[in-house]
Symmetry: C2
Subunit: 365 residues, 2 copies
């Protein structure tokens, strides 16, 4: 690792690119940004406090690290251009799918350049877009997958990983095929399952106008992802089609098995499956999955006006930052319990503050 500050170039200064630029700038990196749309680069540079480059070459030519942060269809072409224009840089990208992009890059660049290409996937973001909504905190504590091809140079891989850790994320290295198979299960399949359910309900609603009147918290949870960006998701899904088809086949088989148990009245079978899933879900809830250093407190919300306000106010006054807060819905909606995520070293004081304010927190993780 170099001891001088890194020179970082961001190619594509939307929400993710600008957020990464902000996270890099706060640890002392010199950041230049470029976007195919000059007005976006200008707005990003004002928000991100970095230099708006006049051309892609201008942005990347003397960079140590270049982050290509564009939608999937543009990544391979830009990576190839950047590898040529920035002979000294480690080049990465932030695409949600890795193998497909890597294949395109591999066929387009000489081996010597490929050794400097270390693809990545920060597992964070926001449903919003554009540099206006960027924030360095989008990078904080997230899992950032690094998926180097076998041709990549180990020194360059470690250089990039050191930098990712320095700007605040948690590096997980895995080969591109494995990354794509895993995200097919935990990201792409849920997206397809959610969209299909919402689309189905919308069709049924045409015949049954009261259908969604009966849709409570559970349905809302299941279909939240269905409001995601269609064009973005079409690109992602088509870039990982075999892995997604396989995940969908396994999912269809599980649904079919449950269907059979239900139709045959196999209560023991249904209950066994539900019990297994429940155990796994509770394990997930009590696990700091995405964010390292975060504790989870379960807090029942009593039935009095302003209970949630007094919960969050008490924590604010007690100097405890809320990392995330989730109202846990019951199977059919209604009142519930709050899952509160705070930094691990603040968990003790959070519990104390809550107890002093008549809450009854239980630490889950």
């Amino acid at each position: 690792m170099t001891s001088t500050p890194d020179r970082v170039a961001i190619v594509g200064t939307g929400l993710i690119g600008t957020s990464i630029g902000l996270a890099a700038a706060r640890v002392g990196c010199t950041v230049a940004g470029w976007d195919a749309e000059p007005s976006i680069a200008r707005r990003a540079s004002q928000i991100g406090g970095f230099r708006a480059a006049v051309s892609m070459d201008d942005a990347v030519s003397d960079a140590d690290i270049v982050v290509v942060a564009t939608p999937i269809p543009a990544i391979a072409g830009l990576v190839a251009r950047v590898l040529e224009s920035a002979p000294g840089a480690v080049v990465t990208d932030v695409g949600s799918v890795k193998s497909h992009v890597l294949a395109d890059v591999t066929s387009a660049v000489p081996l010597a350049d490929l050794r400097r290409y270390v693809p990545g996937h920060p597992m964070g973001g926001s449903e919003r877009s554009g540099p206006e909504h960027a924030s360095a905190s989008i990078v904080d504590g997230i899992v950032w997958v690094v998926s180097p091809p076998h041709q990549a140079d180990l020194t360059r891989i470690e250089r990039l990983e050191g930098w990712i850790a320095r700007i605040g994320a948690q590096v997980v290295r895995m080969d591109p095929g494995r990354h794509d198979r895993l995200v097919a299960f935990v990201s792409h399949l849920p997206q397809v399952a959610s969209t299909a359910l919402m689309d189905l309900a919308a069709t049924e609603e045409a015949d049954e106008p009261e259908l969604l009147l009966l849709a409570a918290g559970g349905f809302r949870d299941l279909t939240r992802l269905a409001s995601s960006n269609p064009a973005l998701w079409s690109d992602i899904l088509l870039s990982n089609r075999e892995a997604i088809a396989e995940a969908l086949d396994i999912y269809a088989a599980r649904l079919q098995a449950l269907r059979r148990q239900i139709l045959e009245g196999d209560g023991v079978g249904v209950e066994t499956t539900f019990e297994r899933a429940k155990v796994a879900r509770l394990r997930l809830a009590t696990k700091a999955t995405v964010r390292a250093g975060v504790a989870v407190l379960q807090v029942p919300v009593p039935d009095r006006p302003g209970a949630l306000a007094s919960l969050t106010a008490a924590l604010g006054e007690g100097g405890v930052n809320i990392e995330d807060l989730q109202i846990v819905h019951s199977p059919e909606g209604g009142r519930g319990t709050v899952h509160l995520m705070v930094a691990t070293d603040a968990a003790g004081s959070a519990a104390t503050v809550l107890a002093a304010n008549d809450f009854d927190p239980t630490r889950l993780a």
Copy 2:
């Protein structure tokens, strides 16, 4: 409708039964409660402030309205007993499935009694159980489906509906078969889809220990329901098997159609489906579905410590009660936006209070 206060009996004083008892007591009804487990009835009577009956007969004999609030397998038998013991009462239940229970009751009681049985399904609850967690607010504003059989007496139906509205819920009348078909789509199918996804991921995790490290907000949303009570759900699903099997078949066909489009690289097809689902989901988000008289405000949560605390505190100080609060997750987790539900007549002051505290609320509904 009677002008004297109703005499209400609750048979099964768990969370739902006791909550209904509390809601009835607060509008002046005389309430008696009975439970097959005497210790539960005693605790419930202390919490609900109602009389703990010494026997089921004692609870129901002079009641105007009897609510059977037990798990599904016990409902039909108890309804038949209550109809016999309470000759003057309208008898209802709160089961999640209607046709199956009704068939059992129909075969067990004389027609004259059946005219007084008006099944119902309050679409609310909590993931907790037991009278300790009961609250009258569980009834507030929820949709309460009333599903009378064709033999039911109109006067009795209207009597029950008037009482439900009086204790705070919103009556939606539909026949039992239609109720069961609709909840198969919006409640039972989501439950099965969520459980199958979690179960599948748990199996894959055995081979891929890092799988759930990559699971962000979307996966968490989709699998939240999977932590529901297995025995309860087994009873529900097996009592509505044909409607659920049909919903699962339609869902499987949708998933299969998307799988084909993805595998064939039909980007236009995928995007069209996603666009349609997105429009439907946004329509759902902006619709006061379950709770009448509730407005939805969308509020971006800025990147500063205590932002959520200051949001809820500001509303508390401004005298605005938060009905529900949802952190809207992005497709891959990360920061988001808060959806805030407040009473319709408080929406204006909520927006004013938030704007005065540097938030930028948008009213969605």
